[in-house]
Each structure stands twice: as structure tokens, then as C-alpha cells.
Symmetry: C2
Subunit: 243 residues, 2 copies
């Protein structure tokens, strides 16, 4: 018995398996158990990304989200279902750690940047050894694939969720030099209106599935419709100073 | 003759050489020429990071910044000197590309996120093949090492340069849920006052040399002085929702 295991919260990057760090790949190679979040009927993005790196069989611990249809996230039943789910997930992971296994919980992007990982982290830190490995975020894949530097020199960057009200979006857009807008989906038309109001629509770039198969990069002004799937973002690059 | 070479703008991450991506390591292994920015008398952070990965000799192309003492960046002579420097650097890189060499220009963090790389990128894109590889940013190293998730769910993240006026800092801090504040240096006392004004000083975390030797992580309230070297940041993590 070598004592309890370590939980590794591993950022596996935005999609391209080569955009994982050397550290992530090394730890993934050693972990006895690989855990990942997923929706029913889907393998999950993080598990898909690491597929090519899992060169030997090991125990897998899939953590299936309880909600597959969209329940409004303001709904109390949504919060309760997720709380129970994270409780159960943390318990399942803790059981492996207690057995002495190291567990790699793989996360798309960066574990500490808008992820589900923190809900496990808050439940287990202090009681178990935890190490976090940062990963390339989806927004970085988007600005890289769009071929556009996002920030220069003294630019202010804002990362905004499209879920904000139109007024809240406009208020924040007015005090930014560069923008990343996520969670578009049904918010797309509202976000476009806000960008138009502040005079930034002409500079905005739409990126869908950055660094993945089926990637799309368009000027917002060239996008005729207002549909936007899960893996999509709008970017407004800063303009910095020409040197 | 195999045709002109490709310029690779390679993000090598924040400091720990293992936080480079697999793609960065692979491309670095193949490039005929390795280029990097540095100040006089210093090797440069990016060159230091890749040291362990340069397993065979190859041509190095150091690009030395013309200013080693701090000239106010608003100064016209500063802008002129840098413009000439980037012109000359782009010309030197283009000469290697024309010879058929691939050139890896290594950049700390992510090439498109507050970097010098874009000044080369803007000069050479359209005329040469360029591929950019994103890298883990310094701010990601800082929040990882501080053990603090930075953003949850619908949080608004702002990345602010400490160079802004106190009033501009306060205006932006008021409409953010999470903050990353860079370029502290002589701006530290001003940034601390702004955080105090908006009631965020108690939540702020100071990180120096995240993921490097000599790392320091402190609550801002535990930091007695107002000194802050180049590799330092303040973080105000979002609070999201407890699930």
C-alpha cells in the first residue's frame, strides 16, 4: 500500500490533441484511472481529445451529467440535480484515491477557466492531494485559427458570456479594447445587436469549432444567420499601436 | 531547393518547460533556425524555457531589443526605435525563410496575447507561410499555482494592465466578476487603491513568478509593500455559484 492517490485536474486543451501540454501527456500516461464528464449518449469532448494518447488500457470513470435536455439554469431543480451529481462524482473519485489510485480528471480547455472541475476541486481539496495542469483554452484556439492577435500592449481584454442582458453587454463592451464573447447559442442575435450599438460589429470575427474538424472562421458581417452551436465564439481583436 | 520556409510563432508557455504543448515541442525539434527576443545581457525568457528542449545544435537568431533602460512608452523616440527594430527583425527572419529554412520564433506565453510576435506577424503575413501555436499564458500559470479557479459559469473576466489611470481601473473593475491585473511594477500602489475603492482588495491574490523558481503566492492583504517585479500579477477570482 503506497498511501492515497493524487487527483490530477488536467487541462487537455481546445480540441487538437497536439495542443495538450507535455505535462498533461506525461501525467495521463501514468494515471491509473481516467475520469471525465460527459452527457448521455456522448463520449464527452475531453475524452475524445485524449483518445490518441491512451495507449494502454486503464480504468475509466465516466461522470454523466444528469441533464441532457436544456433546463433553464436559473431553475432550482437544475441546481439541485447538479449539486447531487457533483457530490456523487466527488465521492466516486475519492473512493479511487483512497484505494491508492491516481485519478486524472480530464477537462477541455483549462480546468480553472469556466469548467466543471472546480466543483470537484472545492469538494476534495484539503482532504486529498490535488494537482492542476493548465490547458490551452478554446478562446486561444479561436484567435490562433482566426489568425488574429487578440491583445496588444495596454489593451483591456474582456471575456463576456452571451447570457448577459443586452444592456449589461453594452456597458461592458464600452470599456474594453478587445473582446471574447462565449456562450452564444440563442444569445447570438442579442450579442450582434450589442456589438452594433457600440460600433464594434465591423471588427468582430466569428469562429466555430476552432482547431477542430469543421472549423469555420468568418467576419461577423459575412455571417447571414444568427445560429451558433456550442463550440463557437465571437472575437473583437484589440488594435494596439502600430510599431 | 525545397521552396521558401515557414515561420512558426511558437508559444512556449509561462516558464515551466513542461507546460509547452506537444505541437510546440514537435515543431521546435524540426526548425532549422530558432529566433527569440531578448534584452541586452539577458538570454530572454522564451529562450530559457526551451533550453531543455534544444537537443541538437541549430542556428539561433537572437533579436535584441534596442532599449534596455526604461524609456516612457508614450515617448515618440521609443516608438521609433521599436519600429526600426521590428523592421530589422522581420527582415532578418525573412532572409532565413527565403533561403528555405523554417524559423521557429519562440514567445513566452501565447504569441497572440500581449506579445512582440504580432509586430513580426503583421510585417510578414501575406508574404510568407506563417503558423502560430498557442501557449499557456502567464495568467494561467498564476491562477493554477494559486490554487484558485478564476471564472465560473457566467462570470465576466477582465484582463487589465496596471498602466491604466486609477479612475479607468475603478470603472472597469466595477463591471467585472473576475480580474487579472498585469503590468504591476510601479503601478502597484495605484492598483491596490483601485481594488480597495471597489471593495475587491480582500479577495485579491498576488502571484510572483508563477510556475517558476522563486514563486510567491500571497493574499494581497498579506503583502506589506508595494513592490512588484516584471513576472507578477494580481488575481481576483470570480465567485460563481456553489453547486
Amino acid at each position: 500500500m503506497s498511501g492515497p492517490g493524487t487527483l490530477y485536474g488536467i487541462g487537455v486543451g481546445p480540441g487538437d490533441p497536439e495542443l495538450m501540454t507535455l505535462k498533461a501527456a506525461r501525467l495521463l500516461g501514468h494515471a491509473g484511472v481516467v475520469a471525465y464528464f460527459h452527457k448521455r449518449g456522448h463520449q464527452g469532448h475531453a475524452r475524445t481529445i485524449i483518445g490518441a494518447h491512451l495507449t494502454r488500457a486503464r480504468e475509466e470513470l465516466p461522470l454523466e451529467y444528469p441533464l441532457t435536455t436544456e433546463v433553464p439554469s436559473q431553475d432550482e431543480s437544475y441546481a439541485q440535480a447538479l449539486t447531487s451529481f457533483y457530490d456523487a462524482s466527488a465521492t466516486a473519485i475519492a473512493a479511487r484515491l483512497a484505494k491508492g489510485d491516481d485519478v486524472a480528471l480530464v477537462c477541455e480547455g483549462d480546468p480553472f477557466f469556466y469548467g466543471s472541475f472546480m466543483h470537484i476541486y472545492h469538494r476534495l481539496s484539503g482532504q486529498h492531494a490535488i494537482e492542476v495542469v493548465p490547458g490551452i483554452t478554446g478562446m486561444q484556439a479561436c484567435w490562433t485559427q482566426a489568425g488574429t492577435p487578440i491583445t496588444y500592449s495596454d489593451d483591456v481584454l474582456q471575456v463576456l458570456p452571451g447570457t448577459l442582458s443586452e444592456e449589461a453587454l453594452v456597458t461592458r463592451m464600452r470599456v474594453a479594447d478587445a473582446l471574447v464573447i462565449m456562450k452564444l447559442g440563442r444569445n447570438f442575435a442579442k450579442v450582434r445587436r450589442a456589438l452594433t450599438t457600440v460600433g464594434l460589429a465591423d471588427r468582430a470575427i466569428y469562429v466555430e469549432r476552432g482547431s477542430m474538424a469543421g472549423e469555420i472562421v468568418l467576419k461577423l458581417s459575412d455571417k447571414p444567420d444568427d445560429s451558433a452551436p456550442y463550440f463557437s465564439m465571437l472575437l473583437v481583436p484589440g488594435r494596439g499601436r502600430c510599431l
